[in-house]
């Protein structure tokens, strides 16, 4: 145990924690993105609301989500610890630094990029995560004909103080499947009717792209993965998937919600 904690308290060990949590958070982004693609479904939010229920009530996912919250906290706390040591390692700075000559802008600004992302995460979780868990969310009822499941009848259920529950049943008499769900989709719709909110999200996703441009491949290096055979693949995936495609599709969501409603 002593040697383990010694290993993690060295400069290399602290960076190992940054790398592990960072790559775990990157993996989460992929899952989060695939799930949120439900927003693009034109079904009154049925798929999205059912997905939200699943993500918050399926035990293995709940366990992983706590690992995720812990990772965000560890990543941020260790970033502060590491930065403090780095500042102490050079208390008198240079008068002139030509950083562009030897490193990417992203790699030199991970701290500020990460801080913006952290602020974004707090706002993001306040608006959707906290609302979903503790906010007085309205419920919505979806009725689908069993013969033709494409036809969906959406009824907003007013919030009347009596807590409703997530239900899904087949009404044999009326030949319909009925789903009653917390209407997170409505909250998303409302949030992205505000222009400043859409702008905030788009900017945050650009920042995320820059953070991951350095972070993704740096995380693998920190773990010691560096090989002529797969380094180019890591760099390629880091650039195209994690710093361009994922942030771009995330940014499309508020834009789509803004124009579609």
């Amino acid at each position: 145990m002593g040697s383990l904690s010694k290993g993690f308290s060295s400069t290399l060990g602290k960076k190992l924690i940054m790398g592990l949590t960072g790559l775990f958070l990157s993996l989460f982004l992929v899952i989060h993105l695939i799930g949120n693609l439900q927003l693009f479904n034109d079904d009154g939010g049925k798929a999205f609301n059912e997905y939200s229920y699943f993500m918050t009530h399926f035990l293995p996912i709940k366990i992983v989500s706590y690992a995720l919250y812990l990772s965000i906290i560890l990543h941020a706390v260790y970033a502060v610890i590491i930065t403090m040591r780095n500042n102490k390692a050079r208390p008198v700075g240079y008068a002139q630094v030509n950083g562009a000559a030897n490193s990417t802008w992203s790699s030199r600004n991970m701290g500020i990029l990460g801080t913006v992302i952290l602020v974004f995460i707090v706002i993001h979780m306040k608006t959707f995560w906290a609302e979903y868990h503790w906010g007085g969310l309205p419920y919505v009822q979806y009725e689908m004909s069993l013969q033709n499941p494409e036809v969906v009848r959406v009824t907003q259920l007013p919030f009347d103080g009596n807590p409703l529950v997530h239900t899904k049943f087949v009404d044999v008499q009326n030949q319909t499947e009925v789903v009653v769900a917390k209407d997170l989709y409505f909250v998303v719709q409302q949030a992205f009717q505000q222009e400043w909110y859409v702008i905030l999200y788009v900017i945050s996703m650009i920042v995320l792209g820059f953070h991951l441009y350095h972070g993704f491949q740096s995380g693998f290096q920190t773990l010691g993965f560096d090989h002529v055979k797969y380094k180019p693949i890591i760099d390629f995936v880091g650039l195209w998937v994690f710093s361009i495609i994922i942030p771009a599709v995330f940014a499309l969501m508020p834009i789509y919600m803004y124009f579609a409603h």
Binding site: S3, T11, R85, N86, A89, Q96, N102, S103
Partner: protein, 256 residues
């Protein structure tokens, strides 16, 4: 002489480690473009001496790019604007007439300023002493080529061994991390059979000493690799990490 340059130098002057330093501006007129950067400073110093002023202190020794003694952070880059050379190999033709050149010492807590542009790099020596060697028994001289080493391994070890301990990696790093230097010194031995017996003790001892000296964390910016006059590769740092994790997390018999 025609073709000579008139330059303005902004030089960091600091009496000693404890006193606060400041930039002083000097005129360096009539400088030949064929001079090396250090020769240019020699000329400036001769003129200062003639005026009975304190000459600018800077480190230098071999002046042919192999000793690792010269330093200088020139116009925002260690060893100046050119790739893969030391300051002594930098020539004034890399600058233009009328240019203002900013000259600073390496800046790191672990490299305290001795005077002006000269810094104390003995932190590197202490890291080396912590484990950057191979213990051998005295005795008869072994046969050459007794231990077969594949060419690629020998080449890679040699590349790591070209490190001249100048400290440009620390100077270039925005975190003042010594990872490139330490990892090169670890790699040159870890790659070879002679380095195996002490391989995991070495990496732990040298990393511990590196942390002890107050160098920063490596955040993989890659600035060190670009600014290294000997083009030591970033791969060394990742090799050091693998050995370190191996020692700390996988080989319990190797823990220091």
């Amino acid at each position: 002489m025609s073709g000579n340059m008139n330059l303005t130098l902004k030089v960091w002057r600091q009496k000693n480690a404890t006193e606060k330093g400041k930039f002083v501006t000097y005129k360096a007129d009539d400088i030949s473009p064929d001079m090396s950067f250090l020769e240019m400073l020699d000329v400036v110093n001769e003129r200062l001496v003639k005026k009975k002023e304190d000459p600018i202190h800077f480190d230098h020794d071999c002046r042919e790019g192999i000793c690792g003694m010269c330093s200088l952070y020139i116009n925002g880059r260690p060893h100046g604007p050119k790739r893969a050379i030391t300051t002594c190999q930098l020539h004034m033709r890399s600058f233009h007439d009328g240019e203002t050149i900013t000259i600073e010492p390496w800046r790191a807590t672990a490299f305290p300023v001795i005077k002006d542009l000269a810094v104390d790099r003995s932190a590197f020596d202490r890291i080396q002493q912590a484990g950057g060697y191979v213990s051998v028994n005295t005795g008869g001289v072994p046969d050459a080529n007794e231990i077969a080493i594949p060419k690629v391994i020998a080449d890679e070890a040699f590349n790591s061994a070209t490190c001249i301990q100048c400290g440009a990696c620390v100077a270039a790093c925005k975190n003042a991390s010594a990872s490139l230097f330490v990892s090169a010194k670890i790699s040159q031995l870890a790659l070879l059979p002679q380095g195996q017996p002490e391989r995991y003790r070495r990496v732990q001892a040298m990393v511990a000493q590196m942390d002890e000296e107050g160098f920063g964390n490596c955040t993989n910016t890659g600035a060190c690799e670009i600014e290294c006059p000997k083009e030591i590769s970033l791969t060394n740092i990742n090799r050091m990490r693998r050995d370190f994790y191996n020692a700390k997390f996988f080989k319990e018999e190797e823990i220091n």
